[in-house]
Structures are given as structure tokens and as C-alpha cells.
Symmetry: C2
Subunit: 343 residues, 2 copies
């Protein structure tokens, strides 16, 4: 029996998560979903971000479905460090998976790229690097102030995420992995990433490999996004590159993501890349596609590959049938996707 | 009397720098140029990257004109840390200036953007952050290996580059500065950057401001590059964002840059953003426009604003007159630009 924790969150988070649940229920009846009230609203009401008792309860679930958390009045870092990153680290979600696909029916700001031509996934490391929270400040608010941020990279952490990327590449048609780093400047971490990459590569003789500096990759994501199949990179580079990937495939409105603990020792978390969008919240106008695609990743992670495929095919059909610029109603899209996926 | 040190470097560096010199000579006769042999070729021949005696000689010049250094056989970091970053740090070139302009006659991979619509500059911090070289490795090549990279940010370093960005914005038409950082995750450095930004902003009441997280900025550079006027950001974010900026304005083949010590206590360095391009080197096919635009930045920095403007107008005319896809000859382009700029 599958148990999902639902963190709908703030703004449009609630609206899109409701559609994702509809779709999950349609393809996999009998899933138990428990709602957790976390995010900006709870923080404002109670001052709490993620009580230990809630963390312990979340740990008892098979997966977490998250909508979006935050609003502009919460100080920077509070929900990010206290909730999102806390969950990624506590549940050892070291594979931050972000597919980038230019779906038929959608269009890219890149003039020369046609639907179907972009189809890659970014495997972003999720538990190390500059996200470790290692940093400090001395002499704050004086002319002598110094602030540091430290990127921590372990062989353990780097090797496992690279291995995951190769394993994914092996299951794909093109079987290619691109390592992205900045080995010419970040020589210590860069060397660790390169050596781990070379070691893992030896285990996957069928997989083609390449290396790019992060600045070059940022450029090629704009000029030749078609060239990528699986991209593996560190936490911060992955954060930036996946937003470029979303931009060239029609915007973060369509981008799904999973924070995955592959061995399922802890629950993985699935969420649309977009935020809580306070400007359109409560109007029933948000596109639930990114949340529904995140639900597809969730199903796939839990071993329901067929159901996952039916959901993503329903999304493909929905997008292909849309008239550009036509308004959409969140709940109607959810209904259509649920019906189509139930098949 | 103006004294320029010329580091032509490797590959097409030599070819494009020759054109930049032609153009400088045409608009500012009497400049003394001294050539320095540095780069991959010298490293392979002698093992030397930047001898102290050469560094001392370079310091005696008003500016450095650099072509491109490197080839694929030099280990990562050797020329970057030993030469390029060494110069940026030794000469306190804290303003890494990268204009991004979609010139009439050129085209963007972005389908909806027209020539003339993109015109901003990135003021990238050049002497701090993750480029400080603070990092290390423990237990190398064992399963216990850990590698670190530290971002060092001082109030001194951050405030001065932000002030430079505001001063530039004040001289531009739109007068807008966008701060880019990742304050929600890099809370220590992010807080320092934000507080310094707010303090400097108070000195420039005419300048409009905004803040964006680096991932959002990477996305908006693709979806709405028109929105930017002056972008100020840290060293690594600037490295990545300026390559996106180059990509959306027609490629790094056209992008110029200056590593600037604004008070001229030390020589500033000007170079095209492109590399040594071994594949087309020696054929006279490289486009010298980025090198010539870098020469224009050099002239401007040394107080020759009129000459700088004539050079950039010559480039504008050259680009506007090109037939897309037509082959070009490096030396002929240089001749045309020199003649046009001499006026
Ligand atoms: C909200 C923030 C902490 C997060 C990140 O930086 O990882 C977001 O940008 C993302 O990409 O999921
Ligand atoms: C070559 C490298 C050290 C350099 C950098 O990272 O700054 C380059 O990418 C640049 O942008 O000038």
C-alpha cells in the first residue's frame, strides 16, 4: 500500500497539487495521501518551518508530493534552508532529477529548435557542494566584514550521483553523459569530480561521455540544447543549468523535478520547478502540467513505470492539443489528464 | 605616451590581436606596443607560465591586450590559475566588464528578439569569491576523499564592484542595476552582497534597482534579455551569466571583455571572450570583431572615449554590412575596421 505525504504549500501549490493527486488516483487507485501544512502560511501563523515531529512523520511515507512553498514576505533562506534543503539533506535525496523536454505543441524561445528535438535529463547532485550550509561571517556590518561559503564534495557523494547518471544513460537511447564542472578554476572539487567520473565511466563501456566547463554548458544549452542526453553536475551548477534548460523548453511552468533517494531508504520528493506564483494564486489559472509530470516521476520512482508512462503520455496529448495563448482552467486540465491517463 | 603590453597567446589569439592593434594604431597613433610571449606554446616549450620578471614588466604598462591562451593539451588550471587569474588578482582587476549587445546585422538564437533590443553590461566581480583559490583535498584517491572550494567575499571587494556598477548605470540611458546572487541558499555571502548593495544604492537615488536569484537570472537571460541594463554579480555567477549573454547575442565570437582596475593603479587587461580555437587557427578565418571591441574597451578605459566610440561604430557598420554565412578573412576585416575607425 503506497503512502504519500502531500505538502501542497502556498499560492498555486495547492491548486496544482490537487490535479497531480487526481491523476495519481486515476492511475493507481488506493494510494493513501496525508496532507502536511508546511510553507509560508504556516510560518507566518506559527513561526514553525519544519518541526522535528513532522520530519519524523514524513519519513514514514513512500514519497512526498510538494506543490510550491514561499511568498515574498518570508526572509530569504528561511523556507529554503529550513524546509526544502532540510528535506533534501535529511532524506539523503542525492539525485535531483530534472528532465528537459520540448514537448510537441509547445514552443521554445530558440527560433531554430523544433518540438521533439530537445530531450535530456539533468542529474543534479542534491546533498553536497555549496548547499552544505558551510559558511560564516566575521565583522558583520563593518568595513572589515568577510563572508564565506564553502563547497564540500566527498568521493562518496560525487561517485554515487555520477553512477546514477550513467545508469540512467544506459537505459536511454543515446547513452551519453556530459559531466559539467569548472575544473579549470575549481581545481580541487573539479579534480575529484573528474576522477570519480573516469572511474565510474569504466563500469559503463556502452555510454559515451564528454566534459564541459559550466560556462560553456550554459552557452550550449542555448545554442545547441539538442546535443545533451544526460547531464551530471554539482548542486549549484545544476540549479542554474536546469533553469536554462527549463527556459529553452518552454519555461519553468512545464518543468518537473524529483529529489530522489534512489535506494528508497528515505522518501523521495517530487515537485514542479515553478514557485508559488502569488500573482495568479487562487484564480484557478495555474497550469498543473509541471506538478502532474512530477507525479509521473514519483510513480516511476516507486516502481510503477507503466502508470508513469501513461501520465506522461496524457501530458503529451494535452500539450499537443492546446491552442497557443488560449486560457486554461487548472481543474479542467487536471480532469482531462486524469481521464486520459486512466485510459 | 601610451604603453600597451600585448599577449597574443595561442591559436587564433595571434591573428585577432594583430587586427586589434591595427585598429588601435589607426585611431591613436604613437601607442607603444610590447609583445609578451605567454600561453600554451611557451608553457610547452619552457615549462614557464608567468615568470615574476614578466609580471613586473607587465606592471609597467598602461594596459594589456590579450588574444587567447590555451590548447587542449595543457592540464586544466595551469594557464587559468597561473596566468589569467594570476593577472586579474595581481593587478587587482576587480571589475570584469562584459558588454552584451545584439548588433544590427547579427542574429540571436532567440526567435523573438530583434537586433538592437539587447544592450546591457555585466559587471562581474573579478578578484574574490570562488576564484580566490581557497580549497583543498584530503584523503585523495580513497573512498574517504573530500575536496573543498571556498568562496571568500569581503565588504571591501563587494562594495567597490557594486559602486562601479552603479556609476556605470548612472551614465547609461536606462539607469538600472540588477543584483544577481543566490541569497536564499548562500545566506552568508548573499547577505553581505545584499547589504552592500542597499548601502551603495542610497548613494545613487536616480538608479533603479532589482534583485534576482542566479537561477532566475539565467532563465530571464533567455526569455527576456531585453530587461537588463547593468547586471552586477559575483565572480562565478558572472562567468556563467556572461556566457549565456554571449550566446543570446550571437555567440562568444563577438563578445569582448575587460578586466579592469578602475583607478588605474595597475594595468587593466582586455580580451575577447572566445578561446584560442585550435581548429581554425592559422587559416586567417577567425573573426577579429571581439578582439577589436576589446580594444575599444581598452581605449575607453584609458580615457580615449572618442577613439573608443569610433572603433565600436566601425564594428557596428562592419556587422551591419555582412551577408549572413559569407566567409570572412581576418586581415581584411581588420583593414576595413582600421580604415573606418580612422575616419
Ligand atoms: C528554492 C531553492 C532552495 C532551490 C534550489 O536552489 O535548489 C530552487 O531554486 C530549486 O532549484 O529547487
Ligand atoms: C578561462 C577561465 C579562467 C575564465 C574564467 O572562468 O573567468 C573564462 O571562462 C572567462 O570567463 O574569462
Amino acid at each position: 500500500m503506497t503512502r504519500i505525504a502531500v505538502v501542497a504549500g502556498d499560492g498555486i501549490g495547492t491548486e496544482v497539487v490537487a490535479q497531480a493527486r487526481k491523476v495519481i488516483d486515476a492511475v493507481l487507485p488506493g494510494v493513501t495521501a496525508t496532507e502536511y501544512d508546511l510553507g509560508a502560511a504556516r510560518y507566518h501563523r506559527t513561526g514553525e518551518v519544519l518541526p522535528d515531529s513532522v520530519l519524523a512523520e514524513l519519513a514514514e511515507h513512500d514519497a512526498i508530493l510538494l506543490g510550491a512553498v514561499g511568498d515574498p514576505t518570508v526572509p530569504p533562506g528561511v523556507l529554503e534552508r529550513g524546509l526544502l534543503l532540510k528535506l533534501r539533506f535529511a532524506f539523503d535525496q542525492y539525485v535531483n532529477l530534472r528532465p528537459a523536454r520540448l514537448w510537441p505543441g509547445t514552443s521554445s524561445p530558440l527560433g531554430q529548435v523544433k518540438a521533439g528535438e530537445i530531450d535530456f535529463v539533468v542529474v543534479r547532485e542534491g546533498t553536497e557542494g555549496l548547499y552544505a550550509g558551510a559558511g560564516g561571517t566575521l565583522h558583520r556590518d563593518t568595513p572589515a566584514e568577510v563572508a564565506t561559503e564553502e563547497s564540500l564534495n566527498t568521493r562518496h557523494g560525487v561517485e554515487r550521483v555520477i553512477r546514477d547518471a550513467f545508469a540512467r544513460a544506459e537505459r536511454r537511447e543515446r547513452r551519453k553523459v556530459t559531466l559539467v564542472h569548472k575544473t579549470n578554476v575549481l581545481t580541487h572539487a573539479g579534480s575529484l569530480w573528474s576522477r570519480a567520473f573516469d572511474a565510474v565511466k569504466a563500469e559503463f563501456p556502452d555510454v559515451e561521455t564528454e566534459y564541459q566547463h559550466v560556462d560553456a554548458a550554459a552557452m550550449f544549452l542555448v545554442t545547441q540544447p539538442q546535443r545533451y542526453d544526460v547531464v551530471v553536475t554539482d548542486n549549484l551548477f545544476g540549479d542554474i543549468l536546469t533553469d536554462i534548460a527549463a527556459a529553452v523548453t518552454g519555461g519553468i511552468g512545464l518543468a518537473a523535478s524529483g529529489c530522489i533517494n534512489p535506494a528508497r531508504e528515505f522518501p523521495s520528493m517530487f515537485e514542479p520547478v515553478h514557485g508559488s506564483a502569488p500573482d495568479i494564486a487562487g484564480k484557478g489559472l495555474a497550469d498543473p502540467v509541471a506538478a502532474v509530470l512530477s507525479a509521473s516521476l514519483l510513480l516511476d520512482h516507486l516502481g510503477h513505470a507503466d502508470e508513469a508512462r501513461r501520465v506522461s503520455e496524457a501530458v503529451a496529448a494535452e500539450l499537443a492539443s492546446r491552442t497557443p495563448g488560449a486560457p486554461l482552467r487548472t481543474a479542467e486540465v487536471g480532469d482531462r489528464l486524469a481521464t486520459a491517463a486512466a485510459g
